[in-house]
């Protein structure tokens, strides 16, 4: 059978810098095909060429048996290539039906929208994926998962032959991921191909048929998923050898020393609202305490309460033995606490500002001299951090939005390290960054803790918690329900601890 999509010898330069040097990709009809690689490997450039956002310098693209020369996303859509972006491009205030039929509304008398027909059609499409919701309700009233499925439903209703999903599960919890996988399988069985881009390698083994690996703008391999292993894929992305990685463990967080006795932070029965009703924990110097739990269990709210973002309605906190109740982030920062937030784009970077300006944002009050910013000290400091953390940027005055996700994350980490904090709260510090940057970030965290500081770690990646944390506080529905202590924590034990409470309340 001829492949549905065949891209070969694709080259693309941006102002003399090669983004793609020799990329290829082949997708069979009805196949779920994974595309993986570190940030900056060229995945998104390749996809943007496919969807007409960029024009290729060289190479050929054949789609559905014909050479393809799409020059805009709209043309790509008409040709049968639909893209589900990380940031959904739907209208949250309009109804589910409106979002699905937008641009191709069924009409009566040629000019009025036939709403009963639109609703019927929408219900029918969603039913195919086993979703039954009120299609007349505003889209925004549903969870991210449902919204994502609606975006997929919209793509399907337009007779897409190839659906591109860019990190579709990054904001979904585990039950929602299952629903999404069901949809992907349904697409596959009806002959639609899916190009699946994800940093979560475990997922690939559940739903993908084949995987294409990219590195440094080149396609370095294409394998059947059944014949490969996770280590193999990581090795391929990093350009390293599998045995080497196996010997060193999956994360760089492991190998911590025993914590000191000195308690730095004590949180006692803290509540801030319905989503955090009873949270307690103790944090020692030289220790990583993990917060375990599912999406919505109150982990982020716990972090927000310590950082002064949500005000306590009951309970108390003690920092270095003294009572502590910050009313604003600036107060928490002065008390030497840093908070690396989960959503890098919405709560982390100031996109139009430079790497330098982003890096020193939390440090500004300390950089003031004679009423102005001490530019020499600022530059010196930023230069130091760029070197120490290996931040890849052409110049410290490059806008941060031009950096890859991993490097943006390193800048944000540096923003907090520069304030010389005693406690760092890290909410998903390695989400959405590639394998290489992930290991580097983990190394930085490990070193910070080994220097005698303390970390509160929130992570959906169990291996980070299991290998890195001295203790894990398990949370469920806004409460701290139990605590696991290392050594002795395994991924199984953690899953069991989470599942146990899940069942108990079910």
């Amino acid at each position: 059978m001829a492949p549905l999509l065949s891209m070969a010898g694709i080259k693309k330069h941006f102002g003399g810098v090669p983004a793609l040097r020799s990329a290829s990709l082949e997708v069979e009809p009805g196949e779920v095909h994974a595309l993986i690689g570190q940030n900056g490997a060229g995945k998104s450039t390749l996809i943007k060429i496919l969807t007409g956002l960029y024009r290729r310098d060289e190479g050929t693209v054949d789609f559905a048996g014909k050479p393809s020369h799409v020059t805009s996303p709209r043309e790509a859509q008409n040709a049968g290539i639909a893209t589900i972006y990380q940031e959904l491009n739907l209208v949250p205030l309009r109804s589910v039906s409106e979002n699905v039929v937008m641009g191709q509304e069924p009409r009566s008398f040629g000019f009025m929208i036939n709403w009963p027909e639109a609703h019927r059609r929408t219900r029918e499409i969603l039913a195919r994926f086993g979703i039954e919701i009120d299609v007349t309700a505003p889209l925004g009233s549903y969870s991210t998962a449902i919204q994502q499925l609606v975006a997929i439903a919209r793509a399907v209703s337009m007779d897409a032959k190839l659906v591109i999903m860019d990190e579709p599960t990054s904001s979904l919890d585990s039950s929602e991921v299952e629903i999404l996988f069901g949809v992907v399988r349904e697409l596959k069985s009806s002959g639609v191909s899916v190009l699946y881009v994800s940093h979560f390698l475990d997922e690939l083994f559940q739903i993908c048929d084949r995987v294409t690996i990219m590195r440094d703008g080149q396609t370095v391999g294409c394998r059947a998923i059944a014949e490969t292993t996770k280590l193999d894929l990581i090795a391929g992305m990093l350009g390293r050898n599998a045995e080497e990685i196996a010997a060193e463990g999956l994360t760089e967080l492991a190998g911590g020393r025993a914590a000191y006795d000195e308690v730095v932070l004590e949180v006692d029965k803290v509540a801030t609202g319905p989503r955090l009703s009873d949270f307690s924990m103790t944090l020692h110097r030289g220790e990583i305490v993990g917060l375990g739990g599912l999406l919505g269990s109150g982990r982020t709210e716990a972090a927000r309460s310590i950082f002064g973002l949500d005000h306590l309605t009951s309970g108390a906190m003690h920092l270095m033995g003294r009572e502590f109740e910050p009313s604003e982030p600036s107060e928490a920062i002065r008390a030497r606490i840093g908070f690396l937030t989960e959503d890098r784009k919405a709560e982390g970077i100031v996109p139009d500002m430079s790497v330098r300006e982003n890096l020193t944002l939390a440090l500004l009050p300390n950089l003031r001299r004679n009423g102005q910013i001490d530019r020499d000290r600022e530059k010196e400091l930023v230069g130091e951090f760029i070197q120490k953390l290996g931040i890849k940027t052409s110049h410290m005055d490059q806008p941060i939005r031009e950096l890859s996700g991993g490097n943006q994350q390193k800048v944000l980490l540096a923003r907090w390290l520069a304030t010389k904090p005693d406690i760092l709260i890290l909410d998903e510090p390695t989400r959405g960054v590639d394998v290489g940057a992930k290991r580097e970030i983990q190394t930085i965290i490990r070193k910070f803790v080994d220097d005698g500081h303390a970390v509160i770690l929130i992570s959906s990646e169990f291996e980070e918690l299991v290998e890195g944390a001295n203790r894990i506080v398990v949370m469920h529905e806004g409460k701290a329900v139990s605590e696991l202590t290392n050594p002795g924590i395994t991924e199984n034990a953690l899953v069991k601890a989470l599942a146990h409470h899940e069942e108990a309340t079910a």
Partner: protein
């Protein structure tokens, strides 16, 4: 200053350089057009007239630029001008002002600016603390400010002859109008504030990503209120200058439609309405362009109504260039 321009050129490629200098190119075209067409354009008199006219727009536009940098807008600038302009003659023409001319003059400069500061505080608190949309929040003073000014003066035109006060609008230093120098001094100061101070850095960060700025410990409320206060004080100053130029205060006309000129000048100068950019000298450039277009049409006998259409065309062009720059 040199290090900043070199940084800037590094960031922008050759192609975008043309677009980012669209304002300067437009200014050049207008100048060339005038030199050829407008009679007596290259005359110091013409220059002086234009500088004295443009200074008020420029001063208000710089304040507007700071507010726009936070992602806000201030519609009340014209009304604040009317208010401070109405207060000044009331003070120096009062019995007290007549009895103690020096104190009267100081008071006539000081209290109108305090009133303007309070207006800015009012705007800032409503926007930053009560979280009302800036366009609605500043609409309150847009409507009531001029009303208050007219009530204070009973709707009368206040004329006066007071050379010490009029110096603000008619004085000359080295042959150029005093208010031109004043605008330039304010521009240098604000440029320093935006590019070198902690306040300026926070201002741009808040406009660029307010949540990130807050999470990094930025005093979001204080900085926003500060921007509205500076904008109002500058508007108040502009109001005084207009009164000084005319030797008369007309609460109904002082600063009328100034909000539109100021916003247009800021946008032509490169301010992004979504925030995050504060080109102070751009605001001056924008003000100069708008003033020159006005002058060009007037000097060549084109009617006022047509001049308004031309102004709209400039704004359209500026917005188009901004859009193109984004891509």
């Amino acid at each position: 200053m040199t290090s900043l321009t070199s940084e800037h050129t590094m960031r922008t490629g050759v192609a975008t350089k043309l677009k980012s200098h669209g304002g300067l190119i437009a200014l050049g075209l207008i100048l060339v057009f005038n030199i050829i067409v407008t009679p007596n354009f290259l005359h110091t008199q013409t220059l002086a007239v234009n500088i004295s006219q443009v200074a008020t727009i420029a001063i208000v536009a710089m304040g507007m630029t700071l507010v726009i940098a936070t992602g806000g807008i201030d519609l009340s600038v014209g009304a604040v001008m009317a208010l401070s302009g109405a207060l000044a003659p009331l003070i120096f023409m009062s019995e007290f002002g007549q009895a103690y001319p020096v104190l009267g003059l100081i008071g006539a400069l000081f209290f109108p600016l305090v009133a303007a500061l309070l207006c800015g505080l009012f705007n800032g608190v409503i926007v930053a603390v009560l979280r009302v949309q800036p366009i609605i929040a500043t609409l309150i003073l847009f409507i009531s400010g001029r009303g208050i000014a007219q009530v204070l003066t009973n709707g009368n035109l206040q004329t006066f002859s007071y050379p010490e006060f009029s110096y603000l609008g008619t004085g000359k230093i080295l042959g150029f109008p005093f208010q031109g120098w004043l605008a330039l001094a304010i521009a240098c100061f604000l440029f320093w504030v935006v590019n070198r101070t902690v306040f300026g850095r926070y201002l741009l960060a808040i406009g660029g990503n307010e949540r990130a700025a807050k999470l990094a410990g930025g005093p979001v409320r204080r900085v926003k209120i500060g921007a509205y206060v500076i904008c109002s004080i500058l508007s108040g100053l502009a109001g005084l200058i207009v009164v000084a130029i005319n030797s008369a205060s007309d609460a109904a006309r002082n600063g009328n439609l100034m909000e539109l000129d100021a916003i247009a000048a800021a946008v032509v100068g490169g301010a992004l309405l979504q925030g995050g950019k504060a080109p102070i000298f751009g605001a001056i450039l924008g003000a100069v362009i708008i003033q020159l277009v006005k002058y060009t049409l007037l000097a060549n006998g084109v009617e006022d109504e047509v001049a308004l259409i031309a102004k709209a065309a400039i704004i359209l062009a500026a917005v188009y260039i901004q859009q193109a720059r984004k891509e």
